[in-house]
């Protein structure tokens, strides 16, 4: 929760009239507290009218609007957005998986701002100068709240996206021990330079942690490679050799084979075998395993 403390922009300079500011805000807050039920209902009605938040049930909406309202008024009172920030982040965490969109969240907060502003207009309509001062006090704080909520929501979304990207990246280059001292790396999808770099890192650390002697990299699922990636692959194989492991590459598609030959990558030191099965057999041979089918167990 405290990972990004700087998400709220610094408060804008508030052009308040110094004399009345101390009294105005409490007055305003107590007005909003007093009419809490009515204003909240009006707000909820406007949310429904605008067709926002249909992902939520009416009960959920009532609960959320109440707590948003209370938080809102509290921020107006204290001027501190930290609690709201926390609340907004929690709220985002809850509602993002439900498919609530950014425009909805921002729209809702702006609606509340408008509803409250209207009630202030109504209350102070007789005294225009006073209304002006009230709005001077209200508007910057209200804008700050809208800002905070929107930023928290977007931050939370970005955090979710980053997390997903990380897990995709992690899953995309698994290092799997199949036998003692034998690793396989099945690669699926386009190998760009970022993934190639990651492959190297995972492979080399994998060799050390698993004390691997033979590694089979299967690239059956890789549609294409470019020169950079091919060279990177060669370097990875060399680096593995320096760590005492031999690498077997399997499943080169005809297209990749042609690319590699055309761009002239030196693969003479690479051990390549047609498919993963052949690669594993070769690896077992290198490690001294011999696999035989037991009598009566195979029904093939």
């Amino acid at each position: 929760m405290t990972e990004r403390p700087d998400t709220t922009p610094p408060p804008p300079p508030l052009p308040r009239s110094p004399v009345n500011e101390e009294e105005l805000l409490p007055q305003l807050v107590s007005h909003l507290r007093e009419h809490r039920t009515k204003l909240r209902q009006e707000w909820a009605a406007r949310i429904q009218g605008a067709g926002l938040l249909h992902a939520m049930t009416p009960q959920e909406m009532a609960a959320e609007t109440t707590s948003v309202y209370d938080n809102y008024v509290e921020v107006l009172e204290t001027g501190s957005v930290e609690a709201l920030q926390r609340y907004a982040r929690d709220l985002s965490e809850r509602i993002i998986p439900r498919g609530v969109e950014t425009h909805e969240v921002v729209g809702i907060v702006l609606l509340l701002r408008d509803v409250l502003a209207r009630s202030l207009f109504e209350k102070y309509q007789r005294d225009f100068a006073l209304l002006n001062r009230v709005l001077d006090a209200y508007e910057p704080a209200a804008n700050r709240i809208a800002n905070t909520v929107a930023v928290s929501f977007v931050d939370e979304r970005e955090r979710v996206i980053r997390q997903q990207q990380d897990s995709i990246r992690e899953l995309s280059t698994p290092v799997l021990p199949v036998r003692e001292r034998l690793l396989i790396l099945p690669m699926i999808g386009v190998l760009d330079s970022e993934r190639a770099r990651q492959l190297t890192e995972q492979l080399l650390t994998g060799i050390r942690t698993h004390r691997a002697k033979v590694v089979v990299i299967d690239i059956t699922g890789v549609p294409a490679v470019d020169e950079t990636v091919a060279n990177h692959l060669v370097r990875t194989v060399d680096a593995s050799r320096l760590m005492g492991a031999s690498v077997i590459i399997t499943g080169l598609s005809p297209d990749i084979a042609q690319t590699l030959v055309t761009i002239g990558v030196d693969l003479s030191k690479m051990d390549t075998i047609g498919d993963l099965q052949g690669g594993l057999e070769e690896a077992e041979r290198l490690l001294g395993f011999s696999v035989t089918r037991g009598d009566g167990t195979g029904t093939m």
Partner: protein
């Protein structure tokens, strides 16, 4: 010799185990080379393990010297294996176009000794590294 802190050369039966404990400058590297090759003759060693696990960098002069040591050792009748190259070092070396030439490499000391023909200590303990 450069003193025991930088490099240690231990005799283990027919093998010599040379551990480099810290980055060596060029002249220390040459001292190490001369000392090691001299000891091969003195102990009539048949194999040398050079352990570089403590190094987080290996420059081209260092890699070259290791190759030279291996070749000199071969001429003096001992086989050399380099062990313990760290992942970062390995990748940096190949990125810079360096390698160990024909010198074999192994993961760590244990692997290196297994490569040379037998594990540490008596032959009866050899089963442990049957796969190696």
């Amino acid at each position: 010799m450069t003193g025991p802190k930088l490099v240690s050369i231990l005799r283990q039966g027919d093998w010599l185990i040379a551990s480099i404990h810290t980055a060596l400058d060029d002249s220390q590297m040459l001292l190490f080379r001369n000392d090691l090759v001299e000891q091969i003759g003195r102990h009539r060693s048949r194999g040398v393990v050079i352990d570089v696990a403590a190094l987080d960098v290996l420059d081209s002069f260092g890699a070259n010297t290791l190759r030279t040591i291996a070749e000199m050792a071969r001429l003096r009748g001992a086989e050399t294996v380099i062990v313990g190259i760290q992942p970062d070092v390995a990748f940096a070396m190949v990125s810079l176009g360096m390698d160990t030439g024909d010198v074999p490499t192994a993961l760590d000391l244990e692997e290196g000794l297994a490569y040379l023909g037998r594990p540490t200590g008596a032959r009866s303990r050899g089963r442990r590294d049957a796969a190696g």
